[in-house]
């Protein structure tokens, strides 16, 4: 009984302390698409995605209730880094649902505008507010309501010590009259977090730096050694270990690393910055420049020490890779190892696909190849009026071709199907089937259909284990007939490792380019974003894949992507272009839909 009362009390007090309104909560996932479009509409970069950000500890004084409840150390703030627009996973700070929703859009707009990112927190945010509300009256009106709610939410000035009260007053003035406050008065504590503004100091430090002097830093190494600090920033992207292989890693690590490396390179007190940031963020970071730290991390992330450095690989036929941070196509970055699956046993089409096979054969045989109208033929199915009238006009018997004829035009096209065989295809899709099973069936039915239409096609699969080992499985080459041997290889496909998409596309493009055909289609079948166990992650992988596709298009190839990743609309438009991909909502439908899709694409 006593215990129960205790729990109830804790809940109650936590709720009061947090001043949250669960009944008015708005989830990021429900508005992320709208926020992303708004972000782009206001000039935000097309390459970044909307993602939930980690909470930031603010260091401000907590209320008595919060102290009683042991909560309130951290706040959900918004920021933009190279990878993503980070928004709170959930907003329930205001009593009105509409206000919580508006806060999301307001933050997305602020991140997109942000005209003075170089300025200290206070000046920067006032400038951003002015920029947004000047151009967007609708947002300005909402900002007015948000400010009222935010001020109502903030701790009362009357109960503050004089220095903190002055500081708080300045914040409120800046909120109400953006542009009016030049400097934040000093106080013993940082101010209470401002939910309507961007997170202080982008994007590394969790603890706000308010333009004051940097605090003394701890040692980078010790910060990272402490195991308690090995907490990840992203709940959504917690690494999963399957068979000793790291499946997904939090992108924040990489954004942070990239930031640390790229933005801090020139700073003298780099070590200190790194250390403080690491300390504050509660995440591990791969500090590439700091050797001792890096080594430790590489061990824990299964990276071999030579992988991360980007030095060219030895050997022939290495593929380049695009580094978006330096805007360069780095030569000889990836080694592609062709794998033949020589020991796969030939087999017949699996029994469960027999019915689909028959249907597809009918459909593809009935799919009329394009017909062409030939004019002024000596014989044909219809009369060609034009030459006939000409004949009458001239009253000459010389012209003889008065007929229109229909002729089948050769479908002069070659298609290369490239299937993602990364470990993520091991995921279950229901009915006791995994993504890889769906991909395998798709490869079977696709081949059945194309062997009826007699279009030239090839099948390849890929996965990767860092840049020195991009595995490229030959399932069917262009000049091979589709038969039991090929079926055996399709039957033998299994989930591999990671998804170094850019390299696989470059290799596929090389093969397809050698085909002489009027139209050459590069069809990519996948279940997720590009990623690999090194720096090939997040934005890096996305931009590299995009570049590989631009190059393929310049070679006259036509890339198209079929994906079962329901989140793909966040990144595929940027990679493939708006109309060059399709998301299959129910992955179990992929095998049956793929051939029809192909028929549509090549009509």
């Amino acid at each position: 009984m006593e215990e129960q009362v205790g729990i109830a009390w804790h809940r109650l007090i936590s709720r009061f302390a947090a001043r949250r309104f669960p009944e008015a909560a708005v989830l990021l996932q429900d508005i992320s698409r709208d926020a992303a479009l708004l972000f782009r509409a206001l000039g935000g970069d097309h390459g970044v995605m909307v993602q939930a950000g980690a909470q930031s500890s603010h260091g401000a004084r907590r209320s008595l209730l919060e102290r009683l409840a042991g909560s309130g150390f951290k706040a959900d703030l918004a920021w933009l880094d190279r990878q993503a627009l980070r928004l709170p996973p959930l907003v329930d700070v205001f009593p009105d649902r509409q206000l919580n929703r508006d806060l999301y859009f307001w933050l997305a707009a602020l991140c997109a505008a942000d005209p003075r990112p170089d300025q200290p927190w206070l000046a920067r945010n006032q400038a951003a507010v002015l920029a947004v509300s000047g151009d967007f009256p609708g947002l300005a009106a909402r900002y007015g309501r948000l400010v009222a709610a935010e001020i109502a939410r903030r701790p009362p000035i009357s109960r503050m010590a004089p220095d903190e009260a002055r500081q708080e007053q300045a914040i409120r003035d800046a909120l109400q009259k953006p542009g009016s406050v030049a400097e934040l008065p000093a106080a013993r504590r940082p101010p209470h977090p401002v939910l309507l503004w961007l997170r202080p100091e982008l994007p590394a430090a969790g603890k706000p730096r308010f333009g004051a002097r940097p605090e003394p830093a701890s040692q980078a190494a010790s910060a990272l050694q402490s195991d308690k600090k090995r907490r990840m920033a992203e709940h959504a992207e917690m690494p999963e270990r399957k068979g000793g292989l790291l499946l997904f890693r939090p992108e924040s690590i990489f954004s942070w690393t990239e930031y640390a490396k790229v933005e801090h390179e020139t700073q003298e007190n780099e070590d200190q910055d790194l250390a403080r940031a690491a300390d504050d963020l509660d995440i591990i970071a791969v500090a590439q420049d700091s050797k001792s730290v890096a080594k430790k991390l590489r061990m824990s992330l299964d990276l071999s020490p030579a992988e991360g450095d980007g030095s060219p690989l030895e050997g022939n036929g290495m593929l380049p890779e695009w580094d978006y941070r330096s805007h360069t196509l780095k030569p000889d970055q990836c080694r592609v190892n062709t794998i033949l699956l020589a020991d796969a046993l030939p087999c017949a089409l699996p029994a469960h696909l027999k019915r689909d096979q028959q249907r597809l054969r009918r459909q593809f045989a009935a799919l009329q190849p394009l017909r062409q109208r030939l004019k002024a033929q000596p014989e044909g199915s219809e009369i060609d009026i034009d030459p006939y009238i000409r004949h009458l006009a001239h009253r000459s018997g010389a012209e003889g071709g008065f007929y229109l004829d229909q002729r089948k035009r050769d479908r002069d096209l070659a298609c290369l199907l490239l299937a993602d065989l990364s470990l993520s295809t091991e995921a279950w899709v229901g009915d006791g089937r995994r993504v890889i099973d769906v991909i395998r069936d798709s490869l079977f039915l696709f081949s059945e259909a194309l062997s009826v239409s007699r279009d030239r096609f090839a099948l390849y699969g890929f996965s990767s284990k860092q840049r020195s080992d991009v595995r490229f499985h030959t399932l069917k080459a262009f000049n091979e007939p589709y038969g039991d041997a090929v079926r055996g290889r399709i039957n033998a496909v299994s989930p591999g490792y990671y998804t170094r998409m850019g390299a696989a596309i470059r290799r596929a493009a090389q093969i397809l380019e050698r085909q002489k055909a009027r139209e050459r289609l590069l069809l990519l079948l996948t279940d997720g974003k590009p990623n690999d166990a090194d720096h090939y992650e997040g934005r890096y992988g996305i931009e590299d894949t995009r570049k590989a596709l631009i190059a393929a298009r310049q070679q006259g190839l036509r890339p198209f992507c079929v994906t079962v990743d329901q989140e793909a609309h966040e990144y595929l438009p940027h990679i493939f272009g708006k109309d060059n991909f399709i998301i299959i909502r129910k992955s179990s439908e992929l095998p049956a839909r793929l051939p029809l899709l192909y028929a549509l694409l090549t009509r």
Partner: protein
């Protein structure tokens, strides 16, 4: 055999249609006309290509023969054909031949859509020979100084397999049209639709915001035409949000998730 011309949709406007220049396109067009050079106009949909040609035709006092090209348009649709009536067969000039015979601007809208053989008849006409051979009648027409060939196309919809051959492209003086700079577009919208400057400015902000999502979320950026249409609805008393939905958002996408997100942008500007 008699050779007759039948009346076509020729416009010789009495009033000069309003056109606000966004650069030096008027001067270039006039100089091209003086020097008997054909003109190619490229630009996204609704950016004022047609309006510009109408304006220039009226300004130069030339008749305008407009042909909207499509993928079944053949050379004889442009040049002309024999027709039959009770008295027998007779020749009927196509719009291109009419313009060459009588002088005037022949404007081929969306030329890339036309069949390949149509561009061939343009070749002798668009270089310094300026002749139109009509092999059906054995005539060889020489274009008078008042004749001018103008073609337009939208590079956005370029097909993989369609597109102008370099030998065609390089015969034309080319003008690239884009969306006017914000201040100017505001004036155009206010002038065309009769809305106040503030509303016009907001509409242009909206257009530019939506334009920056093109490629990622939209197939094609919204043109000035959509903005003018929305402005006309607003001027007639429609609620701006309703007008923007009907005249802009729903014209840009059929995907309900996208139109919902586009409305968020509309509300960022026209929300109370």
């Amino acid at each position: 055999m008699t050779v007759t011309s039948i009346a076509r949709a020729v416009r010789v406007p009495s009033l000069i249609p309003r056109y606000t220049p966004t650069g030096d396109e008027i001067e270039v067009f006039e100089l091209a006309h003086q020097n008997r050079l054909p003109v190619l106009i490229k630009g996204p949909t609704g950016c004022g290509k047609t309006r510009f040609v109408e304006h220039m035709a009226a300004r130069l006092g030339l008749a305008l023969y407009t042909v909207s090209c499509h993928d079944d348009l053949s050379a004889s649709d442009l040049v002309g054909r024999h027709l039959i009536d009770a008295s027998g067969t007779y020749w009927s000039d196509g719009p291109l031949t009419q313009a060459v015979r009588h002088g005037g601007i022949c404007y081929l809208d969306e030329v890339v859509e036309a069949r390949k053989d149509t561009t061939v008849v343009l070749h002798a006409l668009s270089d310094d020979r300026r002749i139109l051979p009509i092999d059906r009648t054995g005539e060889q027409l020489e274009a008078p100084p008042g004749f001018m060939l103008v073609v337009s196309y939208n590079p956005g919809y370029q097909h993989l397999l369609k597109g102008l051959k370099p030998s065609t492209r390089q015969r034309f003086v080319s003008l690239a049209f884009g969306f006017p700079e914000a201040g100017l577009e505001g004036e155009i919208v206010a002038g065309e639709a009769g809305v106040d400057q503030a509303t016009a400015k907001r509409l242009v902000t909206l257009a530019n915001a939506l334009r920056s999502t093109a490629d990622h979320d939209l197939e094609e950026a919204p043109g000035t035409r959509l903005i003018v249409d929305a402005a006309k609805l607003i001027a007639a008393g429609c609620d701006p949000r309703v007008a923007c939905r009907a005249a802009i958002v729903e014209c840009l996408s059929d995907d309900p998730e996208i139109t919902r997100a586009l409305m968020v942008v509309v509300l960022a500007i026209f929300g109370d």
